[in-house]
Subunit: 108 residues, 2 copies
Amino acid sequence: MSTESHYRHHVFFCGNRRPPGERTCCADKGADRVRDYAKRRVKALGLAGVGGVRINQAGCLDRCEEGPCIVVYPEAVWYTYVDEDDIDDIVEQHLQKGQIVERLRLKD
Amino acid sequence: MSTESHYRHHVFFCGNRRPPGERTCCADKGADRVRDYAKRRVKALGLAGVGGVRINQAGCLDRCEEGPCIVVYPEAVWYTYVDEDDIDDIVEQHLQKGQIVERLRLKD
């Protein structure tokens, strides 16, 4: 319905935190630390801002058992990640070059 | 890059809160209350879930002066709103029928 996107890639990190003993959550898997890293990398590479990339925290994206997870819009590509190395791949391949990182992708 | 979206409409409410005296923020304009209302409406209408609608809180979407704001993906349509009546229009026209509510739309 829209041909232009305010952000070329808008990335949402699930940052949901559940009490101990409940269903698994992304916050327990390093989401905050990795999101901060992603923000720093995107800024350092000059990708941040309108027409570029925006990294955001989000509430529960409800793919908890597949997480930690992120979603990149408007292309609606979902990823999981383990650590900063995975984020490097997503930033350099997807956010810089527009190529999906298939090894980290979650199926729709 | 993707033909299917996990959620047909994924709605992010900016919920950023700044200290008093700083730049304006969406939290000061009822974002939390209105987001909760949107979640209830979407559930009540049977729209919530995979293949349907997801309402999420997000960190600062960085359109503070135009806010309070939301963005609907994958179509990348941005809205502002004043109150629950505006959300009713967005839910019933956009999320149910796929029609953009032009009077509330923010330009890209």
